[in-house]
């Protein structure tokens, strides 16, 4: 197996293929702190792509309640368990072996799902969730770890849960792609979206077995597997609404909690993100380091990044998002002026924002975070499309409008 570089793990790792050479990569940031699990994203996806016979148990987008929920049931616990059994006691990070560019979270010293596989029965360590496990996609909804009689307080709530929003991670090193013996799965160079060729698939379910996030799903009515297609017609810009310019996916644009931001980032030949300081995703992931990959230790270099929930015990979060959790929560709890401005871009437009600039505004107030008093500024963030034209302009302070005293018909 050729070695490839996984920057999320801070090291080289084995993968079945050399780096695929994607020039741009589909990527997104989900802010778990803001999600209310309304499932609007889930239904937007369902009503667009998976409403037909054989797709009943298929939810390309789902929102599950952690720690108990999971679709399919207990998917993450099962993979973690398989990995732990394959490499007992050694699935550890070295958080001190860091480099701002090549190992921002430290170095993972355990084994990835590619490295624990025996190579005979499996190219990738994994399992096939049974049909039963795909049923009840929102089991354990809103189930907290404990009832906190005396209420809760930060930094860690004594009884807690949080919502985890999940789509296909369109991984840089997709496990599904590595496992497919038919070469039916491919990663598009133009946007890094991972697709299953419905003409070549013969339903071996190797991808269902291999994908650690369980986002490759079997469809009995065609005997093939299907997966999240990253709404590629929208990302390609073929929707007439945006006049040929790339547009965010259905699940992203439907988000009423404004927790999601999706875009395309530039990727080098080695699979790492090219420096693109003014791309909002690049800024959040690589500069502010406020958003982290989901279970990076699996080794697929997933491309959906999460702003971790502030109230959840850190051990749990470190297991889920890696050792970058403490810094990410600190950066979110007391955001810089720039971070606060970039966060305003979430759901401000349906078009993909390729770059932004921040126009400084006046001081608008003060807020106490912990023991520190922080100043707030009413900065304005401006988003630009792929042709560097302004598409959105949002201020940090939400504008306030006063209604006339006399309310007329149809006045909101």
């Amino acid at each position: 197996m050729p070695p490839v570089y996984n920057w999320q793990l801070g090291r080289q790792m084995d993968y079945r293929y050399p780096n695929g050479g994607a020039q741009r990569q589909f990527a997104a940031v989900f802010n778990t702190n803001r999600c209310i699990a309304c499932q609007t994203c889930t239904m937007a996806c369902k009503s667009t792509w998976t409403f037909s016979p054989g797709q009943e148990l298929m939810w390309w987008n789902n929102v599950e309640t952690k720690p108990y929920g999971g679709f399919p049931r207990h998917w993450d616990v099962k993979i973690l368990d398989l990995q732990e059994k394959a490499n007992p006691g050694a699935q550890v990070w070295n958080a001190t072996k860091k480099d701002p560019k090549t190992a921002p979270y430290g170095t993972f010293e355990g084994k990835t799902i590619f490295e624990t596989a025996d190579g005979v029965n499996q190219v990738v360590t994994g399992y096939i969730p049974t049909e039963d496990e795909w049923k009840g996609p929102n089991l354990h909804e809103d189930t907290a770890t404990a009832f906190s009689k005396n209420g809760v307080s930060l930094p860690e709530h004594s009884g807690w849960f949080f919502y985890l929003q999940r789509i296909c991670n369109h991984c840089t090193y997709p496990a599904c792609l590595a496992a497919c013996p038919r070469n039916a799965i491919y990663k598009r160079p133009e946007d890094g979206i991972v697709l299953i060729d419905q003409n070549r698939c013969r339903g071996y379910r190797k991808c269902t077995e291999a994908c650690p996030y369980k986002k490759s799903m079997y469809r009995p009515s065609t005997r093939t597997s299907e997966k999240c297609i990253g709404c590629y017609p929208r990302v390609e810009g073929t929707d007439p609404l945006t006049e040929g310019l790339p547009m965010e996916t259905r699940c992203m644009t439907a988000c009423i909690g404004k927790i999601r931001l999706q875009g395309l980032v530039q990727v080098g030949a080695d699979g790492q993100w090219l420096e693109d300081r003014q791309n909002p995703l690049y800024y959040l992931v690589h500069v502010a380091k406020v958003a982290l990959p989901l279970y990076p230790q699996f080794g697929t270099q997933p491309n959906v990044y999460y702003i971790p929930p502030r109230w959840v015990p850190r051990d749990y979060l470190r297991q889920m998002f890696g050792p970058g959790v403490d810094d990410a929560i600190a950066a979110y709890t007391a955001p810089s002026r720039e971070t606060l401005a970039v966060l305003q871009l979430f759901r401000a437009t349906q078009q993909i924002v390729f770059s932004y600039k921040v126009e400084p505004g006046p001081k608008s107030g003060e807020v106490k975070v912990g023991n520190q008093v922080r100043e707030l500024f009413n900065d304005t963030v401006v988003g630009f499309d792929s042709k560097n034209r302004e598409i959105v302009r949002v201020s940090v302070d939400e504008p306030v409008y006063e209604r006339p005293a006399k309310v007329t018909m149809n006045t909101i």
């Binding site: 409403f51 037909s52 016979p53 054989g54 009943e56 190579g119 005979v120 029965n121 190219v123 096939i128 969730p129 049974t130 049909e131 795909w134 013996p181 038919r182 070469n183 060729d197 419905q198 003409n199 070549r200 698939c201 013969r202 339903g203 071996y204 379910r205 190797k206 269902t208 799903m217 079997y218 469809r219 009995p220 009515s221 065609t222 005997r223 093939t224 299907e226």
Partner: protein, 327 residues
Amino acid sequence: MYKRLPRVRRRWQLGLGAAAALLAAAGLQFFDANPATSQSLFLTAYSAGSDPGLDPADGVWKNAVPVQVPLTAQAGTYAAGGGSIPTVSAKALHYQGKLYVRVEWADTTKDESTTKVENFSDAVAVEFPAKSAASVPALCMGQADAGVNIWQWRADSQAGIKDPVDVYAGALVDMYPTKDTLFYTARAAGNPYANPDQGPVQTLVSQTFGTLTIANVQDVRGQGAWNNGNWAVVFTRSYAGADPSQAAFADGATTDMAFAVWNGSEGDRNGRKSVSAFVRLTISGTDLGAGGGDNTLAIALAVALLGGTVVIGAGLAISGYREKAAR
């Protein structure tokens, strides 16, 4: 260095050893036990007296001589496991320009539903070199200058592809906005594997691992039946292949043929299967008469020959000993 034995005693031993080996071989042959099967197996397709059809239980097969083809785990391009089915019993016939192949194997579980994500189908395939093959192809999916033609029969295909709502009688679905084929994505993409009208057999072509593709013309027919822990499947196709990527046969011709069996309950699919080596298939001009293909006579002859050889060998050894002793 060991001391050399006297010539006389060595001859005795040789004679006894030969006799023992021959007797053992005769015994094994007689009881149909085969501890180490030869690398080269031969299967002959005799001319059938009547059309064997697709029914594995058709009487015409009774007279055809089976070849026991041993199977192993798949260890080709990369090992992929399998190997739970140790052997298949293969027979072949031809009738009016059509080749018939009948494969039977023991499988206690009848796996013919793939509605659940965790369930896999039983299946069997036979593989031939493509008509255009310049050399003997690699067993695993052929090679660039020597493709292979694979006929695969699947239990789930024979049972039929169904929508889950038609499988689960109590399933409750609010509504399907449409049931148009367009939204059965793989079908709409033209994937024959997803087509419920395809039938139980597919003919496929391949020119190296990872290039297995459905053949343009689907002209192989087949049918399987499961009885008392045994699958029996019949394949048939006209001698002439539709195009150079497919196999071609002729009266009196010889070709290679390999077998693969998938055991659904073992999670077999794709490379995870039990496979054979190539077997030589001869399409004989000889008629398969009633009892003509029975091998009782052949075995009796073989035993007589073996017995004779043993007697001669022993006689020679004894006479040799006597000669020596007389000197």
